[in-house]
Amino acid sequence: MSARVNLTLNINERDYAVSVEPRHTLADVIRDQCGLTGTHLGCEHGVCGSCTILLDGEPVRACLIFAVQCDGQEIRTVEGLSEGNELHPLQASFRDNHALQCGYCTPGFLMLAAGILERNPSISDEDLRDVLSSNICRCTGYANIVKAVRAAVAEMGRR
């Protein structure tokens, strides 16, 4: 196969020196080379959003981007949300509002919501629903996901 490229991925404020083929997706490299398996693959064609991560603060589908495109950029994954044992308000809120069942889509929703709320903490209900409709959950029917994100917004405002 094509020659490997050496690059450094900065994930959750830590540098990972990796050697990748140009065709390796960011999601595969994060999972297989960096060992951060919280980023899940649901469709590998950009529809489901399970692999959503933050790239320089923007939610992106890690299955639709190649690792070689991300040299030097700031990547955040679900593993970087909590601080030590203290859950991020979104994580605690998902638990407290029963916003997950199988949990497979959860990291993608958490990163999507984190990216949006960091950019716009006072997002309207309508806009929030619009943004959250870009990811798919097959278990919950979404009601508790919306509720959890809303509750986390309130909690983040208090902090």
Partner: protein
């Protein structure tokens, strides 16, 4: 009585901490040193003879370790039915692990590639050359059966379910109403695709399957028959599972391949399905054509129902045999008192993805048919849809209600308990059905195309025969509950911990629940057909009570107090009338019960117990779905304005989790009613093989679903009265939506096919000149 007080509370889940922090362990997250990656080269034809296979180019690719066709594994038979579904007549229709001579659907596994890297394995699969000679392609169960193989047609079975004097009832009927109905092909489509890892440890002679789900022990039993090893040589392990819905965790060809390969190649073999494969290869379901009719008297009372069903099974018969067709027939009369019934099923193979159980198998379909018939009767006789249902519901005084079929090989049903009219009334009241009718009238008068519909349904769960549990308290008071259950994300660990905590008197958060590990417990029922909470929950309850009895017996001796004066609170035994008096913790009791302890006496060492729960029969939860929809006459688009599910679960172990099951099920049902469909062209090519084509509902399509959970009819068949909650959310959705759309467009019987896509609805409106 136990003092825990955690049963029935909406406590947070034990499962969530690893899942929200990205530390879950799904099968894709598991890796073993030196593992190989498997990729399957699949048929691109729906039905063809395989003339030749050339794997030389694939073998030559650097990084490829082995390439197998069916010739490389002559000793491996087809994927077998589960032990409890054996049927001689269906055996010739089972799926080989790799296609032998013929392919029968697009996606049929033909060649297995094993390589050092998943990308390389995929490259190699594209280098496999297969020469096909096309055969007649059957894409519908309505077509005349073809040849499956010489001497065997594609109609694998003809099944019947009958009771009562059907012909007599139709002869004397006031009206006979006939409908031609179709349920579309859809499936569970969990967000995690399938995956499996085989690993062989030559040092212990143990073969391991990782990534299994749902029915671990039963799959192990099937596999040991197929592979010719003993159960103690095959350990089946469940990890986190990204959704099940009936289709995940069944035994598939790839599960067998990774095991055979791991042993023969001497390296762990990992296979992770991609989404394209999933939508062509994992079990699908629902696709049936019904020619249904009903005989009624002048008051709309049902005298008889009759149904002729064409069941589209796809390319092979998978692990369930003809279970879905049978469940369709036996649940067709549902919660109505029907004196006579006859259903026949033409169970036919087609050249599409094989089918099996998808959440509420046979029930989603039969509820659609039954409720369409009832709506049609109401329209024909000019009766209110609520009133006609009231007249036909089984009454509480008829419980337990028996359905006894004429056929010797058909299982009779006995509905254990229920007050169907009461739940119907509660649901209508909560929904505000009567005032809603006024509102709908006003809005229709103002030009809106809006309507309401309903689906009343019966579910079935808690089928035995038996399940066991082992509960042990360690010397520090830690409680381990070992079950043969399984978790597909439904909150199994939390529910079992709540049941154990309630009976034993400990904090549910201090309980570790083991599931899905065949090396930890010899038997297990798994998590399927709405069984887990009833069966495994029942086992955990009786086992926890046995541990409690042993703890109190020892405590009574140590504290010198009578057993019946003691209680257990937060893991500490104390006197009920004197909570500040002498106490002893369960951990200390466990220490006193250690082997060799001076106070052990004649007792069996250890604070643990192992018990089984054997329910005598199945439980039948029941429910009501109500919907309000608005139709856009220009596009044929449907907006679900309101949706409600009312469900009597007997007893809710965790109401938040029950509600989660119901809401999630409802939206999944809305997918099947309005958006999701596996479409094939006339050559059997799948046209919905990506998530851009197979449309799962997003938040944009999700209404706020209203939920009413009742506990009016606890089951008399298990100690906690549980009837379970997994499948009621989806069961009547198609029926309610179809009724609501018919009401909205002013043609009560118009919706005959699901999903009701905009194109189909536009066709109906256009035929009306609208």
């Amino acid at each position: 009585m136990p003092e825990g007080k955690v049963l029935g509370k909406p406590v947070t889940r034990l499962e969530d901490q690893p899942l929200v922090t990205g530390r879950g362990r799904y099968v894709g997250d598991i890796n073993f040193p030196h593992q190989l990656h498997m990729r399957i080269a699949r048929s691109v034809h729906a039905h063809a003879e395989i003339r030749s296979i050339d794997t030389s180019r694939a073998r030559a690719l650097p990084g490829v370790f082995a390439v197998w066709t069916s010739d490389d594994i002559p000793e491996v038979g087809p994927v077998d039915f589960r032990a409890d579904r054996a049927s001689e007549v269906l055996k010739p229709y089972r799926q080989p692990v790799l296609a032998r001579g013929r392919v029968r659907y697009v996606g049929d596994p033909v060649v297995a590639i094993f390589a050092e890297d998943a990308y390389v394995a995929e490259d190699a699969a594209e280098l496999v050359d297969i020469d096909y000679s096309p055969l007649r392609i059957i894409v519908s169960a309505d077509e005349d059966p073809g040849e499956f193989e010489p001497g065997r047609t594609t109609e694998a079975a003809f099944l019947t379910h009958t009771f009562g004097d059907v012909d007599g009832a139709f002869a004397k009927a006031h009206k006979v109403i006939e409908l031609d109905l179709h349920t579309g092909r859809h499936s569970g489509v969990p967000l995690e695709t399938r995956g499996a890892i085989g690993r062989y440890d030559a040092a212990t002679d143990i073969l391991e399957l990782h990534g299994a789900a749902k029915v671990l022990h039963r799959n192990r039993d099937t596999l040991v028959n197929m592979l010719g090893c003993n159960p103690d040589q095959l350990h089946v392990h469940e990890s986190h599972v990204g959704g099940g819905f009936g289709i995940r965790g069944e035994l598939y060809p790839e599960d067998v391949l990774v095991l055979v390969a791991a042993k023969r190649l001497g390296r762990p073999v990992k296979w992770i399905e991609d989404r394209y494969e999933h939508l062509m290869c994992a079990n699908q379901g629902r696709e049936q054509h019904h020619l249904a009719r009903v005989a009624v008297d002048k008051d709309g009372r049902i005298l008889a129902m009759e149904d002729k069903i064409f069941h589209d099974q796809g390319g092979y018969v998978r692990t369930h045999g003809y279970n879905v067709a049978n469940r369709t027939m036996c649940m067709l009369t549902g919660l109505y008192d029907v004196p006579a019934f006859r259903a026949v099923t033409h169970y036919r193979l087609t050249n599409k993805t094989p089918c099996a159980t998808y959440r509420a198998p046979g029930r989603f379909e039969s509820t659609f048919v039954r409720e369409r018939l009832v709506d049609a009767v109401a329209a024909e006789l000019g009766l209110d849809p609520v009133e006609i249902r009231r007249r036909n519901l089984i009454r509480p005084e008829q419980m337990p209600y028996k359905l006894e079929f004429d056929e010797a090989n058909v299982e009779n049903l006995e509905f254990d308990s229920g007050d169907y009219p009461l739940l119907f009334k509660k649901a209508l009241d909560m929904f505000g059905w009567n005032t809603l009718q006024e509102e709908l009238k006003r809005r229709r008068a103002a030009g809106e195309m809006i309507g309401a519909g309903m689906g009343l349904f019966l579910e079935e769960g808690g089928r035995g025969p038996s399940d066991g549990a082992r509960i042990a308290v360690d010397s520090r008071g830690g409680v381990e509950v070992v079950t043969g259950g399984a978790s597909l994300g439904q909150g199994f660990e939390t529910a079992m911990a709540q049941i154990c905590a309630e009976a034993l008197g400990v904090d549910y958060r201090k309980i570790r629940v083991i599931h899905g590990q065949t090396d930890r417990i010899p038997y297990g029922i798994g998590a399927h057909a709405t069984r887990a909470t009833v069966l495994t929950g029942g086992a955990v309850h009786v086992t926890a009570l046995a541990v409690r009895a042993k703890a109190l017996d020892m405590a009574s001796e140590l504290l010198q107090l009578p057993v019946d004066s003691l209680e257990i609170v937060d893991g500490t035994v104390r006197q009920r009338s004197n909570p500040r008096g002498p106490t002893i913790t369960l951990g200390d009791i466990a220490k006193r019960l250690a082997p060799g302890s001076k106070v052990l006496g004649g007792r069996q060492p250890g604070l643990w117990a192992e018990e089984f729960f054997n329910p005598k029969d199945t439980v039948f939860p029941y429910g009501v779905h109500l919907a309000v929809v608005k139709v856009d006459p220009g596009t044929g688009g449907v907006t679900v304005e309101r949706f409600m599910v009312a469900y009597d679960v007997g007893r809710a172990v965790n109401p938040a989790m029950v509600e989660g099951q119901l809401v999630g099920g409802c939206l999944q049902g809305l997918g099947g009613a309005l958006y999701e469909e596996f479409i094939y062209d006339d050559q059997g090519q799948p046209l919905a093989a990506t998530l851009a084509d197979y449309l799962l509902p997003t938040l944009g399509e999700a209404p706020d679903i209203e939920v009413l959970i009742t506990e009016d009819a606890p089951s008399p068949l298990n100690p906690l009265g549980i009837k379970s909650a997994g499948e009621g959310g989806i069961n009547g959705v198609g029926a309610a939506i179809a009724g609501a759309i018919g009401d909205a467009i002013g043609r009560p019987g118009a919706i005959r096919r699901m999903p009701v896509t905009p194109q189909r609805l536009r066709d109906i409106l256009r035929a009306d000149g609208r």
